[in-house]
């Protein structure tokens, strides 16, 4: 819920009270966030923030890992070994980010596309 609230606060800071036509939130697969729970919380958090939220989508983005063998690969399981060398000497270098990757609002200004 606090993540949903952070998202809506950040969006509100950017757009004011504008009507949000479309929003896509990218969630890293290693973030520990459950997309269903986030979806539910986003609706509630938007209401609390006074945002009118139209269509929105949550996209899971694979994490990244860099193995000691040099292999860089997409990782979604913290227990899975490096697919190339089978070793576990790898660092997870991404996959816990939360990014509002697409935000389309109703605007009085010029149309951009």
């Amino acid at each position: 819920m606090s993540v949903a609230a952070s998202i809506c606060e950040s969006v509100a800071r950017r757009v004011g009270a504008a009507e949000i036509d479309e929003m896509v939130v990218e969630v890293g697969a290693l973030s520990g966030l459950n997309p269903d729970a986030l979806e539910f919380c986003l609706e509630e958090a938007a209401r609390m923030q006074g945002l009118r939220l139209g269509r929105f989508e949550i996209e899971m983005v694979a994490g990244k890992a860099r193995c000691a063998c040099g292999h860089v690969y997409e990782a979604s399981d913290l227990l899975a070994p490096c697919p190339k060398c089978g070793g576990f000497e790898r660092d997870f270098t991404g996959g816990d980010e939360i990014v509002v990757s697409r935000l389309v609002v109703e605007s009085d200004g010029e149309e951009d596309s």
């Binding site: 952070s6 969006v11 950017r14 520990g32 227990l79 509002v100 149309e111 951009d112």
Partner: protein, 227 residues
């Protein structure tokens, strides 16, 4: 009305407040740990033992001065236990929240002087999942997991072990009474995080405690030396 597509927003999950907390802790020259583990895994007992080891006899000068910020949903029981063990302690009652966040810690730090503190331990709310997310301003995360919880816990709850710098397996004095495969649990931890420092101890009998205390001494020395 026209439609306008805006630039993407990277969500700040409290990192700014966590960095401000870190600055306060660094100014005091303290090393800060974020202790994460299930309810009843022995976090507070581990701290009582750690304080006893690092403070030494109550009339002497502590080898390392420990201070503790306790996080619980409700009550000040743990703060009182830490205070009885001889370390300054303050309590955050989260009123329902399942983990601490940087803002709660900032509020606690505002009324909790760190002068002379070498080791600040932030004991998170008992929970193996939610506290993995928010950064609090700590230097290191320490996962605490007890043998009665079962040896499959690292595999089932990997995130905390992935993000932790060290893991402490507690209550190993109970191993003769349990079907617990410590090697399996440790090997799963290493698969998740090959850099993880692992300790196995009993705060009650003292077995394995000296390795843990040695680790804290090393960390403290490294911090004093390396800034």
């Amino acid at each position: 009305m026209a439609k306008k597509t805006l630039e993407k927003i990277v969500i700040d999950k409290g990192e700014k407040i966590a960095l401000a907390n870190r600055a306060v802790i660094d100014r005091a020259g303290a090393l800060a740990l974020n202790l994460i583990g299930s309810p009843g895994c022995g976090k507070t007992t581990l701290l009582e033992r750690t304080i006893a080891e690092l403070h030494g006899p109550s009339n002497g000068q502590p080898e390392l001065q420990v201070a503790v910020i306790e996080g619980d949903v409700q009550t000040t029981f743990d703060r009182d236990r830490i205070a009885a063990a001889g370390a300054p302690a303050t309590q955050i009652e989260t009123a329902g929240a399942c983990r601490l966040d940087a803002a709660m810690v900032a509020k606690a730090l505002a009324d909790f002087p760190l002068d002379g503190v070498d080791l600040l331990v932030i004991e998170n709310v008992g929970n193996l999942i939610c506290p993995c997310g928010p950064k609090l301003g700590e230097h290191l995360k320490v996962a605490v997991v007890s043998t009665p919880e079962g040896d499959e816990k690292p595999a089932k709850y990997p995130t905390v072990f992935a993000r932790a710098d060290a893991a402490v397996f507690t209550k190993i004095d109970l191993l003769p009474h349990l079907d617990y495969d410590l090697d399996r649990a440790i090997s799963d931890c290493r698969k998740i995080n090959s850099r993880l420092k692992v300790f196995a101890l009993s705060a009650r009998t003292g077995e394995g405690v000296s390795e843990w205390i040695g680790y804290l001494r090393t960390l403290h020395r490294a911090q004093q030396g390396g800034g």
